[in-house]
C-alpha cells in the first residue's frame, strides 16, 4: 500500500486461492462474458434471498443473528471465498494469523439512516465504517490485524495491496481482502448531486458518447496466501499475484506511475491484457486510457464496468476476480456499449468477448488512489 520500487519482495509465490462475490446477478462472470448489463436486474443485491445460507455455516450464529444486510453480504462473500480455498475453521488454521481487510467507499450508511429514524443503541453500535469487517471477524473468529480502508472507487483493490503487504511482512498466514458497498439512499443522493451519473442511463467505458457512470453494489472477497500453504490443503490456487503499484490521484501520471510500479515489481515489461477501471466517466476514462497507452501501448483493454456498472468498494475486486476467470477460461470479456472509439481514449478496447489466452493480466482501480495489480497464470 505504499510506494515501493523493485520486485515484489516475496520469499515465495502468493496465490489467490478463493474468491467470493455477492452481486445483483446470480452469476456475475456469466453476465460479464455474455455482456448482460446488471442494470437489467436493477443493480441491487437481494441479500435476504441468500442470507439463509449463513445459518448452515460454522459461523458464530449469535453475531449472524445480529447482522444487517451489509454485514451478511460481506459474510456470504467471505464464506464463499473460504470454501473455494478449502479453508476449514479448525485447529490447523491459526485464527490469530488470519485477518480481514475490507475497502469501502461509504460503509454501511443504511444503518446510519436507521439510527436517524429510530435512535436505538443497536443501530448506533453498528454505525462505524469498520463494523462490517468487525462483524465478519466475530462470525468467523479471526483475530489477525484487520482494518477497513476508505477510498473512492479504489478501496477494494487497496485492500488487496494491503493484504499483500501483510503477507510479505509475515503478519498473517492468510488474508481475506476485498470490498463492499451498498447503495443507501444517502449514497445515491450524493452521486446525484455530484453530477457523475450518466444522464443517458448507459455505461460505456472508453466510448466517445460516455456521459457518466451507473451505480451498482455488492461485496467481493479474495483469499490470499503463500502458494506452498495452499498446496498443503490440496489447493492449487486460481492465479498468482506477482506485482502491485499505487499512487495518490486519478490523473494520467498517477495511473501510469502505479502501472509502471506494478510491472517493475512483477519484473514484466508488458501483460497480455488489462482489466481497466474505466467506469464511463468522461475524464476518468480518458486519464486511464492515456496512461495505459503510455505504459502498455496496444495491449487489449476491457472494462467489466460496462456490464456491472460502478460498484464502488467492490469494483476493484470484481475487476480482479474477472481477471482471474479470464486467465482460467482463456477468454477476455467484451466491453459492452463500446462502439465509437475516440481520440481521448487511445486504447485497444476489446468490444466483444473473445477467446484469447491471457497468461498475465493487469487489473486497475482508479479513484482516490491509482492502484494496479498484476496476476499471472499458474503454469502446470
Amino acid at each position: 500500500m505504499f510506494h515501493f520500487e523493485g520486485t515484489l519482495r516475496m520469499s515465495e509465490p502468493i496465490v489467490i486461492s478463493g474468491t467470493g462475490l455477492v452481486t445483483p446477478v446470480e452469476n456475475p462472470w456469466e453476465s460479464i462474458k455474455q455482456g448482460k448489463s446488471w442494470q437489467e436486474k436493477g443493480a441491487r443485491v437481494d441479500v435476504a434471498a441468500f442470507a439463509f445460507k449463513l445459518r448452515k455455516t460454522k459461523c458464530a450464529q449469535g453475531i449472524v443473528r445480529q447482522m444487517d444486510a451489509v454485514h451478511q453480504m460481506c459474510l456470504l462473500a467471505c464464506t464463499a471465498a473460504l470454501n473455494e480455498a478449502k479453508v476449514k475453521l479448525n485447529k490447523k488454521v491459526d485464527p490469530h494469523r488470519i485477518a480481514i481487510v475490507l475497502g469501502t467507499e461509504y460503509g454501511d450508511l443504511d444503518i446510519y439512516e436507521t439510527f436517524e429514524r429510530n435512535r436505538t443503541p443497536a443501530a448506533f453500535r453498528s454505525a462505524l465504517p469498520g463494523t462490517p469487517g468487525l462483524a465478519n471477524s466475530i462470525a468467523l473468529k479471526f483475530y489477525g490485524p484487520s482494518t477497513t480502508l476508505l477510498s473512492q472507487f479504489s478501496a477494494g483493490l487497496e485492500a488487496v495491496v494491503w493484504g499483500l503487504e501483510a503477507l510479505e511482512r509475515g503478519d498473517v498466514d492468510l488474508i481475506l481482502c476485498g470490498g463492499f458497498d451498498k447503495l443507501a439512499p444517502s449514497v445515491l443522493k450524493r452521486y446525484e448531486l455530484t453530477g457523475m451519473l450518466s444522464q443517458k442511463g448507459v455505461s460505456r467505458p472508453y466510448d466517445r458518447r460516455r456521459d457518466g457512470l451507473l451505480l451498482s453494489e455488492g461485496a467481493g472477497i479474495i483469499v490470499m496466501e503463500k502458494e506452498f500453504q495452499a498446496k498443503q490443503r490440496g489447493v492449487r490456487g486460481l492465479a498468482r499475484v506477482v506485482g502491485r503499484g499505487m499512487r495518490f490521484g486519478n490523473g494520467r501520471e498517477s495511473i501510469a506511475s502505479a502501472m509502471r510500479q506494478a510491472l517493475q515489481s512483477a519484473t514484466l515489461s508488458t501483460v497480455d491484457c488489462v482489466f481497466g477501471s474505466a467506469n464511463s466517466c468522461p475524464k476518468l476514462d480518458s486519464e486511464e486510457a492515456r496512461a495505459i497507452r503510455e505504459i502498455l501501448g496496444e495491449v487489449p483493454v476491457t472494462s467489466v464496468k460496462s456490464v456491472a456498472g460502478e460498484s464502488l468498494g467492490m469494483g476493484g475486486v470484481l475487476n480482479l476476480v474477472s481477471g482471474i476467470w479470464s486467465i482460467k477460461e482463456g477468454l477476455i470479456p467484451g466491453t459492452i456499449n463500446f462502439k465509437e472509439p475516440c481520440r481521448d481514449c487511445p486504447v485497444n478496447v476489446v468490444a466483444e468477448s473473445r477467446m484469447e489466452r491471457p497468461r498475465s493480466v493487469m487489473v486497475n482501480a482508479v479513484g482516490t488512489n491509482a492502484v494496479s495489480v498484476v496476476l499471472k497464470k499458474i503454469e502446470a
Binding site: M1, F2, F124, L128, G130, Y143, E158, T194
Partner: protein, 394 residues
C-alpha cells in the same frame, strides 16, 4: 536490526486550544475543556456536555470543519518538521477517523427527510471519510498513496503502527499520520443512547466514574526514518520504538472483560520495541472514564506489569480534552511525546481515588515531574481493536 523511526513534526487542535504548545500547556495545567453543548439541540439527551473546538477557529474558512482542522494540524506539523526540500511531497499519508464530517451527512440527510431546505453540493461532498485524506494530500501536494483507515477509536494508533512498519521496511522515509473527529448531533446522540456518556464529568479510573465525555479535534504526527532525519539535521522529538495490536473479535462494542487481549497488544508492543516491561516509565492509558473500559484496562496492565504496575504513573488525557475517537491516537500522542521531552506528566483531571481492588498510580491533581524515557500509549476501539505504541527518548 530494525530501522529506527523518529518523530520530527507535530500538530494539534482541540477544545483546549490551537497548536501543540497550547494543548500541552493546558493539559499540564489540569484544565478540562468540557462545556455545555450549544451547537445543536440537546433536549432529548441525558448528557449535555462535550469538548468543542472554539467556534472562532472555523470562521473565515470555506472548507468543511473536518478539512479545516486537518489542514491546520498538518500545516503545523510540516512547519514543525522544518523540511527544506519539500519532503512532505514524498510522504505517504495515513488518515484515521470514525465519523469524519458527520454534520455534512446530517445536513444532507435532513434535507432528504424534508427537515430542512436543500443544501449546496459542498455539504454533500464533505462527508465521505476518504475526502478528508484527499484534502490532506492536496495540502501536502503529495503523490504517494493516501490511506484512510478506520478501526474505531484506535484508528490513528493503528495508522502510526502501519507507518512505522512501512518506514522500517524502507518503503518510504517520511509519513504523515493525521486524524480528526468532529462532534455532531449524530455522534453525541448515539453515545448518549448507549449510556456511555458521563452525566457529571470524565474521571478516568476514579471509583465514582460514570462515563466518557466526547471531544473533537485533530492531530498530526510526522514520522521519519532516523537516517533521513539525521542527514537533514532535523529536530527529533522522540523515537517511535514499537507498536503492537490485538483484535478481540468478541463483541461489536463491549471489551473482552478480563483484559487478556488488551494486555496482548501491550506485550506485542514491548516485544516489537525489544524492551522489557520494566523499562516503561509512564503509561498513557486509553482511560475513557467508562466503568467497563477502565476496569478492563487496569486488569490488562496488571497482567503485564504485575506488582510493579501499581507504581508506574498512569494518566488519561481524555479527562482534559474529551474522547476524540478516531483522532485520539495522534492528539494524545502529541501530549505523550511532550512527557518525554520535559519529564512532566499531565494529570488525569477529576481523579480522586480508584475503587478497591484497582491499585494503580494514577497521576491526579497536578502535573507531576517524573523522569520519562519510555512511554506506553494504549488505545482500544469499539469491537476490540486494541493497540499500544512505545515512545522512547531519543
Amino acid at each position: 536490526m530494525k530501522r529506527k523511526v523518529v518523530i520530527t513534526g507535530m500538530g494539534a487542535i482541540c477544545c483546549l486550544g490551537r497548536g501543540t504548545k497550547a494543548v500541552i500547556e493546558a493539559t499540564r495545567r489540569g484544565e478540562s475543556g468540557a462545556q455545555s453543548i450549544e451547537r445543536f439541540d440537546t433536549s432529548e439527551l441525558r448528557c449535555k456536555k462535550g469538548c468543542f473546538v472554539d467556534e472562532a477557529e472555523f470562521e473565515d474558512s470555506e472548507l468543511s470543519r473536518g478539512h479545516h482542522l486537518l489542514k491546520l494540524v498538518v500545516e503545523e506539523a510540516v512547519k514543525d518538521s522544518r523540511f527544506e526540500n519539500n519532503e512532505e511531497r514524498e510522504a505517504a499519508v495515513l488518515v484515521g477517523s470514525i465519523y469524519g464530517c458527520m454534520e455534512s451527512w446530517e445536513e444532507m440527510h435532513d434535507a432528504m427527510m424534508g427537515k430542512r431546505d436543500e443544501v449546496g453540493i459542498g455539504a454533500y461532498d464533505a462527508f465521505p471519510l476518504w475526502w478528508l485524506s484527499t484534502a490532506v494530500a492536496k495540502t501536502l501536494k503529495t503523490t504517494r498513496p493516501v490511506t484512510t483507515l478506520s478501526t474505531a477509536c484506535s484508528s490513528t494508533d493503528f495508522a502510526l503502527g502501519t507507518a512505522l512498519y512501512a518506514i522500517r521496511d524502507c518503503k518510504m522515509d517520511v509519513a504523515v499520520v493525521a486524524g480528526v473527529e468532529l462532534l455532531s448531533r449524530f455522534i453525541v446522540t448515539g453515545f448518549d443512547k448507549l449510556n456511555a456518556l458521563s452525566l457529571t464529568s470524565c474521571r478516568p479510573f476514579d471509583k465514582e466514574r460514570d462515563g466518557l465525555v466526547l471531544g473533537e479535534g485533530a492531530g498530526a504526527i510526522i514520522l521519519e526514518s532516523y537516517e533521513h532525519a539525521q542527514k537533514r539535521g532535523a529536530t527529533i522529538h522522540a523515537e517511535l520504538a514499537g507498536f503492537g495490536c490485538s483484535f478481540e473479535a468478541h463483541d461489536l462494542a463491549a471489551p473482552e472483560p478480563r483484559g487478556v487481549k488488551r494486555s496482548l497488544a501491550l506485550r506485542n508492543a514491548l516485544a516489537d520495541a525489544e524492551i522489557a516491561d520494566t523499562e516503561v516509565d509512564f503509561i498513557k492509558a486509553h482511560g475513557t472514564g467508562t466503568p467497563a473500559n477502565d476496569k478492563v484496562e487496569s486488569l490488562a496492565l496488571k497482567r503485564v506489569f504485575g506488582k510493579r504496575g501499581t507504581q508506574i504513573p498512569v494518566s488519561s488525557f481524555k479527562s482534559a480534552f474529551g474522547h476524540t475517537c478516531g483522532a485520539c491516537g495522534v492528539l494524545e500522542g502529541v501530549v505523550s511525546i511532550s512527557c518525554i521531552r520535559n519529564n512532566l506528566i499531565p494529570p488525569t483531571v477529576g481523579f480522586r481515588e480508584t475503587e478497591s481492588g484497582m491499585r494503580m498510580d494514577i497521576v491526579g491533581g497536578k502535573c507531576r515531574s517524573h523522569s520519562v524515557k519510555t512511554v506506553a500509549q494504549m488505545s482500544a476501539g469499539f469491537g476490540g481493536s486494541n493497540t499500544c505504541f512505545i515512545l522512547r527518548e531519543h
